[in-house]
């Protein structure tokens, strides 16, 4: 059977045509309503934030760049290299290679420690599952969101980078702000 496009046409119901007065209101009335908003804000002064010189403060629960922690009293790493964060990570961006603590080289409190701990920040979706999975509160997500770089490979954060105190670059929103 030859194809007849007309068979497939569906008729759409249209509203009544606005007419002359209605047409004019459409052309000017709606525009004026928009402009009202503009003129109201005009008096408030500029709101542009001069990023990167200025920054928006983030909420305390904001999830940004990760940090690995140490025990404050002993200075040992909290991470035992259990890989549970790697298992929890939905994008598979954490790599942990564990090793054994020896009396000469005690790194963490348990039997094992993370010899290699890497997070691929270009893949991370900042879901925070790693923080929830960690049985030792060894990894938390901080507030830093400035993570761009010129090289993809520089976005693989090593254990040293994650252990280091991050530059305090992100202002935190204070209570009530």
């Amino acid at each position: 059977m030859p194809y007849n496009p007309g068979d497939d046409v569906v008729l759409v119901q249209r509203g009544p045509s606005p007419g002359g007065a209605g047409g004019a209101y459409r052309a000017f009335g709606e525009t004026l309503r928009g402009l009202k908003q503009t003129f109201q804000r005009l008096t408030e002064g500029t709101k542009t934030i001069q990023y990167p010189e200025e920054k928006v403060p983030v909420y305390p629960r904001f999830r940004g760049r990760h940090k690995l922690h140490r025990f404050e009293d002993t200075g040992l790493e909290k991470c035992v290299g259990c890989s549970l964060c790697a298992a929890a990570c939905p994008v598979d961006c954490i790599r942990v290679v564990a090793d054994e603590n020896t009396p000469e080289n005690r790194v963490s409190a348990g039997e094992r420690y993370a010899a290699v701990y890497e997070i691929n920040m270009s893949r991370c979706i900042f879901c925070g599952y790693c923080e929830i999975a960690c049985p030792f509160d060894a990894i938390t997500l901080g507030h830093d969101y400035e993570l761009s770089d010129y090289n993809r490979s520089d976005l693989i954060f090593t254990k040293e980078m994650l252990m280091a105190e991050p530059l305090d670059r992100t202002p935190l929103r204070t209570a009530g702000e």
Binding site: V80, S83, A86, V97, G110, E111, R112
Partner: protein
């Protein structure tokens, strides 16, 4: 005992009617109805259940108390419930009880993620703990052995490890000390648990109490990939599963195949994987320039090798061994026969058998299978010791004796590890297995004259031979003769093969469940020969126009300059061939030695002129043939190593690729562009492999003798017994000369030599002698002694063994140093050199450090933390 018949019955589980084999344990029967009953201690591989953990409780109508599903056989009409409140209460209670003293240190525990205790706690446990009292503590972790660490706090006392040691490997070393909550797994006096099969307990342990030290903290289950392949470190060819992380093999576990390995591995197979990633690996082609091996690119090496082979033509030779796949052997023999017109190919250290005999021994009707070792009425262990030659067969024979009432009959020169399990043990003189077979043949045919003569030639008596035969035949007709390829070594090999075929004939070993089983010397010895890599026959035992020289002939011809180029395919003649001295001369006088080898051995370093880097078995693809004819498949688990900073392709290449590239340079195009194409060519060329495909082989392998193609290829063969002559009598020991025999310890392999964790097991030379002789020569256990004849000497530590017959000594061969392959069953002089040799004394039975004198740091003081008789340390 023949295989039991299966009788199917119907029972009801959770309201469903299910068919299951009668007398299967409820836990197994429930699986037929898709019902899972949690277990800890139940493991069918370990034999009878013990009911130690109570995890498997179920309710059975008509029985007031809950029953353990793992030890209650299912009967027709049984009504079982696993989902009632009573059962759930019991399961929660058992989990809570098991966790009372469990440290719950999953984050640092190696088992985490693959731990049955975790799984069962999630699935069946109460979810919370009510226990607030201090837990029981042990010192942890400790070395149980150089290979295994033990964490006693995690142990749930399931007895699996102890049962393995007591009932499977029968080394009787592991026990549970103390009582109740204070029980702990240990050896009875705290010595390291060293035996050939210890690694299996790591896999058996349902918690993280027993941990492999080579895998400790290496990876989590979600970091790794599994890759199934076949272990090529000995002829047992166990099916293994490699654990791979970041393209490195980290662990080897069993990939249960009842027809091959029964789910066990030996410690060599489990831990010598370390040889894949060591500095001794050869990762690029090398050539000798100014006396030194220097790296070259593939083109240079291949061209040089092609030129050397092309110039040599029929004056070339090749020997192969070990991990050579069927495909590599097949392609290399094609290259030699078709292009070089040269048949000097051999994979048998003892020399090749004439074609009719080689073919006769491979007759499908005569082949026994590995399970036959367990289900036969009787097994004759003929002058070999499976613990050294093919260790998994040792476990199979033990299982047969223990669980199936099999009669084990041992006739060997050297005392075997299975003597204690045998019904009869006959000790003959070293090297006289042929005479023993002639005596057996005479006894079977009532030839009294030959019987007496041959029995005394074997250093035994007619009566002993008849007793042996009585025990062998009394139980029934399913008889298996397990022998080693070494039987055919030396000039009288063909006669020995005749004698063996005669005996097989007279015992009528052609039926199901009976037959011959040969343990080859190389891991794939059988496959290499069937692929045509032999002096006397082509692929599939096809006759060849001009047979070449076998190993001994090749060595002599090389030494005399009649041959010029030698291709060594994964083999080290200095180490593995008898007569090392002749080979030393042969290698030195050869013009070009091409070594295709994965590890830098002494021989490669001193003698090779062109070196092709070889693959480790985890990198290989191809097929192997198991001693019982099962064609198995090697699959690549990891990529080929490449030298640091070099482009891919400059490093190790596949064996089939190297050989076909070489052939191409010599003007012969195999048309092989992939490993599977080489396999196809092989299957087409060998009549009894016809029609095989890699898919058909799959993960479990296919026994070719059971295929239709085998029947077509061999037809109905019948063999009339031939008349045998009595071989010359064994050498007679005298006042100052002792008979000498040799053995090749399980641990003598280049892979063990370079694996860091197995250094404790590396064999050193021992001289085994009987205490009577020792007293005569004034030698004490451990003294340094020297045996020798005509200027060839071997030194080693004396080891006194009561089971060694008087007037005989045994020395190890195939060691990296001090090889003793120079003695061809004559007599030797023995001389004491001095007091205790400084090397570690080796336990001669298993080639392992003697108890309490291990060279590695013995953890005894730590184990003594809880000395027998006192409670283990409790703190808090």
């Amino acid at each position: 005992m023949p295989r039991p018949e299966i009788n199917w019955i119907t029972f009801s589980i959770d309201g469903r009617e299910v068919k299951a084999p009668e007398n299967a344990m409820l836990v197994d029967a429930a699986k037929y109805g898709d019902v899972e009953i949690p277990v800890f201690c139940y493991e069918p591989k370990l034999g009878q259940p013990v009911g130690a953990c109570r995890m498997c409780l179920v309710e059975i109508e008509g029985i007031p108390k809950l029953q353990t599903g793992c030890s209650t056989p299912v009967k027709d009409g049984m009504v079982v419930h696993t989902q009632t409140e009573r059962v759930h209460d019991a399961q929660r209670a058992v989990v809570e009880f098991l966790l009372i003293n469990h440290p719950l240190d999953c984050p640092v525990c190696d088992k985490g993620g693959e731990c049955p205790l975790q799984d069962i706690t999630y699935g069946w446990g109460p979810g919370t703990s009510r226990y607030i009292e201090p837990k029981r503590h042990f010192v942890k972790p400790l070395e149980l052995s150089p290979l295994i660490a033990i964490d006693r706090e995690r142990c749930i006392l399931c007895y699996r490890c102890v049962r393995f040691s007591q009932e499977i490997s029968e080394d009787y070393q592991l026990i549970l000390n103390e009582r109740g909550a204070h029980s702990f797994v240990a050896t009875f006096d705290g010595h390291p648990y060293v035996a050939p099969f210890t690694g299996n307990i790591v896999e058996l342990c349902p918690v993280g109490a027993l941990i492999s030290r080579s895998y400790r903290f290496r990876a989590r289950p979600w970091d790794i990939e599994g890759a199934g392949t076949v272990c090529t470190l000995c002829p047992s060819q166990c099916n293994v599963d490699l654990t791979v992380r970041d393209d490195r093999v980290l662990r080897v576990s069993a990939r249960d195949n009842d027809e091959v390995d029964d789910g066990w591995l030996c410690d060599k197979g489990r831990f010598a994987f370390q040889h894949i990633h060591v500095d001794e690996r050869i990762t690029e082609p090398l050539m000798r320039q100014d006396g030194k091996l220097v790296p070259v690119d593939w083109d240079t090496a291949l061209t040089a090798a092609a030129q050397a082979l092309g110039e040599a033509g029929p004056r070339a030779a090749a020997i192969a061994d070990g991990e050579t796949t069927n495909e590599e052997a097949f392609l290399l023999q094609r290259l030699f026969r078709e292009r070089l017109d040269c048949g000097n190919l051999s994979a048998r250290p003892g020399g090749d058998l004439p074609l009719p005999l080689a073919r006769g021994l491979a007759d499908p009707a005569l082949q026994a299978t590995v399970p036959d070792l367990e289900f036969a009425h009787a097994v004759l262990l003929l002058d070999c010791d499976p613990i050294d030659d093919a260790p998994i067969f040792d476990l199979r024979l033990r299982k047969g004796v223990r669980r199936r009432d099999m009669n084990l009959v041992v006739a060997s020169a050297r005392p075997t590890a299975l003597d204690a399990n045998a019904t009869t043990v006959l000790r003959h003189a070293p090297g006289t297995a042929e005479a023993l077979l002639v005596a057996l043949d005479a006894a079977l045919s009532d030839d009294r004259g030959n019987l007496g003569g041959a029995a005394s030639a074997a250093g035994s008596s007619a009566q002993a031979v008849q007793d042996l035969l009585e025990d062998l035949t009394s139980a029934g007709g399913d008889i298996v003769i397990l022998y080693s390829e070494r039987l055919f070594g030396g000039p009288r090999g063909p006669q020995a093969a005749e004698a063996l075929l005669n005996v097989a004939n007279r015992l009528n070993l052609t039926g199901e469940g009976a037959g011959l089983l040969e343990i080859p010397i190389g891991a794939n010895g059988r496959g290499v020969r069937e692929a045509g890599f032999a002096a006397t026959h082509g692929p599939g035992f096809a006759p060849v126009a001009n047979p070449g020289l076998a190993t001994h002939g090749i060595a002599e011809a090389l030494a005399e300059g009649q041959l010029s180029t030698l291709y060594l395919l994964h083999t080290d003649p200095l180490r593995h061939m008898s007569d090392g001295e002749l080979w030393e001369r042969a290698l030195s006088s050869a013009q070009t030695v091409i070594a295709h080898e994965s590890l830098m051995t002494e021989t490669v370093a001193t003698h090779a002129d062109i070196v092709f880097p070889g693959e480790a078995y985890a990198e290989k693809e191809g097929t192997l043939v198991h001693p019982d004819g099962r064609v198995q498949r090697l699959r690549r688990a990891i990529g080929h190593p490449t030298p640091f900073n070099r482009h891919p392709g400059s490093g190790v290449r596949a064996g089939w690729q190297v050989i076909s590239d070489l052939a191409k340079l010599l003007g012969l195009d195999f048309g092989v562009f992939a490993g599977s194409m080489a396999s196809q060519q092989l299957f087409a060329a060998v009549p009894f492999f016809n029609g095989l495909t890699l898919d058909e082989i799959g993960g479990r392998g296919v026994r070719w003798p059971a295929r239709e193609a085998a029947r077509l290829a061999f037809g109905e063969t019948s063999r009339e017994p031939v008349a045998l002559d009595v071989p010359p009598a064994a050498a007679v020991p005298s006042e100052d000369a002792l008979r000498v025999g040799t053995f090749r310890p399980l641990w003598s392999s280049k892979e063990v030599d370079v694996s860091p964790i197995l250094q404790y097991a590396r064999p050193t030379q021992v001289v085994e002698l009987s205490p009577v002789d020792a007293e005569r020569f004034g030698v004490a256990d451990g003294d340094k002694v020297e045996v020798g004849v005509n200027g060839t000497q071997v030194q080693g530590a004396a080891k006194l063994r009561h089971a060694v017959p008087e007037g005989t000594v045994f020395v190890a061969e195939g060691l990296s140093d001090a090889s003793s392959s120079l003695f061809n069953y004559g007599t030797v002089q023995l001389r004491r050199l001095g007091g205790s040799a400084e090397e570690s004394p080796i336990n001669p039975i298993i080639g392992m450090p003697a108890i309490g004198e291990s060279p590695f740091n013995p953890p005894r003081h730590e184990l003594r933390e809880s000395p027998p008789g006192t409670a283990p340390r409790m703190n808090e």
